[in-house]
């Protein structure tokens, strides 16, 4: 699936397909022509992706083929033992987690799950976790603390689920509790925004010693559409709102909200899972190795200082 601003690439891809159909076994000049077309495609893609607007970045972050938490687990971990349930109400499929091994590091992986096929998407509420999801996440974090293993969270959600049941079971309390407990957690926490970092639903598992972000991910206090409909009184002004909200990885690095950007392959993570996983793994291992050396006391005090400094300007 190509996005609307990728029309030029799609057109070249069409030409390549046509060319291949006409010349199933190209030789000589035809090979050269095919190579030229491939180059043209790569250049175009590079050109488009090197100057994405914030609103275009939102489209990439929400791309239906973008790697989801299961892809990251498959791509990064040699073992994953999934754990279920919050021990209070149920098991939220919109938030998954469990023990995982990344190279020689044993960690607790937790993150939003959007789902791939429609029935799976519905089961996990399109990655909008419910209170039981946040409470499951907290349960697993406390378990990680007990077992002295680091926590790695994968953030990819449009936001916490805005439903009647979610309100009645304390969506606000569940997120608030996580913020407080994560601040005090005596084990390293690395948070990675892989796709959509949607507001309270994202920060509910986002209080990390290190916060990383894929280069085409976004992280925002409100969706651009939501902001546009409130402040512009016009939901179609989402592109303007996306601009104003400063939601791209680059802006957030400048604002010192995130610590490092994980570069995606040209054309976005969805075009090349293998490279995306390789890069993510490298950055993740670097931070895991260095955080594992820090004492729990120092970790929590540094984590406090990090978040206390956010929005302190004078």
């Amino acid at each position: 699936m190509s996005l609307d601003f990728e029309k030029d690439v799609a057109e070249i891809e069409c030409r390549i397909e046509e060319f291949k159909a006409k010349n199933p076994e190209p030789t000589g000049a035809l090979v050269k022509e095919l190579n030229r077309l491939e180059m043209e495609r790569a250049d175009k893609l590079k050109e488009i992706y090197s100057s994405l607007t914030p609103w275009q970045t939102v489209q990439v972050a929400r791309h239906p083929e973008r790697p989801l938490i299961r892809d990251f687990i498959n791509g990064l971990c040699s073992e994953f033992i999934e754990l279920h349930g919050d021990r209070l109400f149920g098991d939220d499929r919109g938030m998954i987690g469990g023990f995982a091994t990344i190279e020689n590091h044993r960690v607790m992986v937790i993150g939003h799950q959007k789902g791939k096929e429609l029935d799976e998407k519905i089961k996990c509420n399109f990655g909008q976790a419910c209170p039981e999801g946040y409470r499951k996440a907290l349960r697993l974090m406390k378990l990680a603390e007990k077992f002295h293993i680091p926590v790695v969270t994968f953030i990819d959600t449009p936001g916490a689920f805005p439903g009647r049941d979610a309100e009645e079971r304390g969506q606000a309390e569940a997120i608030a509790r996580n913020l407080l407990e994560m601040a005090a957690l005596k084990t390293p926490v690395i948070a990675i925004v892989t796709g959509e970092g949607g507001s309270g639903g994202a920060i509910g598992i986002g209080v990390g010693d290190v916060v990383l972000m894929l280069s085409n991910a976004v992280y925002s206090v409100i969706s651009p559409e939501g902001c546009a409909s409130i402040l512009w009184r016009d939901g179609t002004k989402a592109a303007e709102a996306a601009n104003a909200l400063k939601i791209t990885a680059k802006s957030l690095l400048q604002l010192k909200i995130i610590d490092e950007i994980i570069p995606e392959p040209v054309g976005g993570a969805h075009r090349d899972f293998v490279t995306t996983m390789k890069t993510t793994k490298k950055v993740l291992l670097k931070h895991l190795t260095s955080l594992e050396k820090v004492s729990p006391r120092k970790l929590t005090s540094r984590r406090f200082d990090k978040f206390a400094a956010m929005g302190r300007f004078k």
């Binding site: 916490a160 979610a166 969506q171 913020l179 409100i222 909200i257 929005g311």
Partner: protein
């Protein structure tokens, strides 16, 4: 002569006072209430117990012993880290307008004072300042007051009145949620009591952060308390929500608020609870 005098009297009589000068209409049940009565009743309707929103100064008068309030962090103000502008113009202009309108620099006032002789650290949100929204200055003041409480071994009371995080400061506003909660985690570590008072409204990023992690949760009657907005939820689930959805009473029923306390009883209730927490 009598008729002459009388007519002169009538001529001299000042215009009869307007209805609005004497009466106030309850915004909820529409009952007419004497203005004096309304003030004496702390802006609560006698008939339906509707609690009007109060300014932070009115809250100080209602809750703290006279003359005991000392303001802290008064210099902390709003910021414009994103240089934000929307269809109505720059955020900076809007913020300045709100400062002029309220005499505040941010949506919360913080300080220390006494409740029936018990010294407390207190943060009071004021809905008049940009809907009481949570932004960098708000978070910083709430954090600094928590640290003050820790330094002076005081209980901490926060009165929330907020529509949620302020969009104009973008992600910085969102980060005030973990920031304030991190400060409250330190307060917990110091074993100091934290009482959260939810007033109308306590929603969005405020309900999903410091307002919901109190040792004790108290709400004013009929306050709106919730995470997502009613309209958003109705659109999501394609259902009409019950009338009392997200009211303080509804939250008591669902186990998220300890008690609903009438404004006139709030001060005494706070001092009673603080005594159980060992404060004096």
């Amino acid at each position: 002569m009598a008729w002459f005098h009388k007519s002169k009297e009538i001529a001299a009589k000042p215009e009869s006072p307007k209805k609005e000068d004497i009466w106030i209409q309850c915004p909820s049940c529409k009952a007419h209430i004497y203005k004096d009565e309304w003030g004496k009743n702390l802006k609560v309707c006698d008939r339906c117990h509707f609690h009007e929103r109060l300014t932070w100064k009115e809250r100080v008068d209602v809750l703290l012993d006279e003359g005991t309030f000392v303001e802290l962090n008064a210099k902390v103000s709003w910021n414009d880290p994103l240089k934000f502008s929307d269809s109505k113009g720059p955020y900076a202009e809007k913020a300045v307008e709100n400062c002029e309108k309220t005499g505040m620099k941010e949506s919360v006032a913080t300080g220390a004072g006494k409740i029936n002789g018990i010294k407390v650290a207190i943060a009071i949100m004021d809905f008049r300042f940009m809907g009481g929204s949570l932004a960098s200055g708000t978070g910083e003041k709430i954090l600094q007051t928590a640290l003050y409480a820790i330094r002076h071994k005081l209980p901490y009371i926060i009165l929330s009145a907020s529509g949620g995080a302020r969009m104009h400061e973008g992600i910085i506003s969102l980060m005030q949620m973990p920031k304030t909660c991190a400060a409250l985690a330190q307060l917990r570590e110091a074993n100091l009591p934290y009482i959260s008072i939810m007033t109308d409204p306590t929603t969005g990023g405020v309900s999903a952060s410091f307002a919901m992690v109190g040792d004790i949760h108290i709400a004013e009657p009929r306050s709106l308390i919730g995470f997502a907005g009613r309209r958003v939820i109705e659109e999501t689930i394609k259902q009409k929500l019950p009338e009392d959805f997200q009211t303080a009473e509804y939250l008591v029923d669902h186990g998220f608020v300890d008690m609903i306390v009438h404004r006139k009883d709030m001060k005494d209730m706070l001092s009673k609870i603080l005594k159980y927490a060992g404060c004096r």
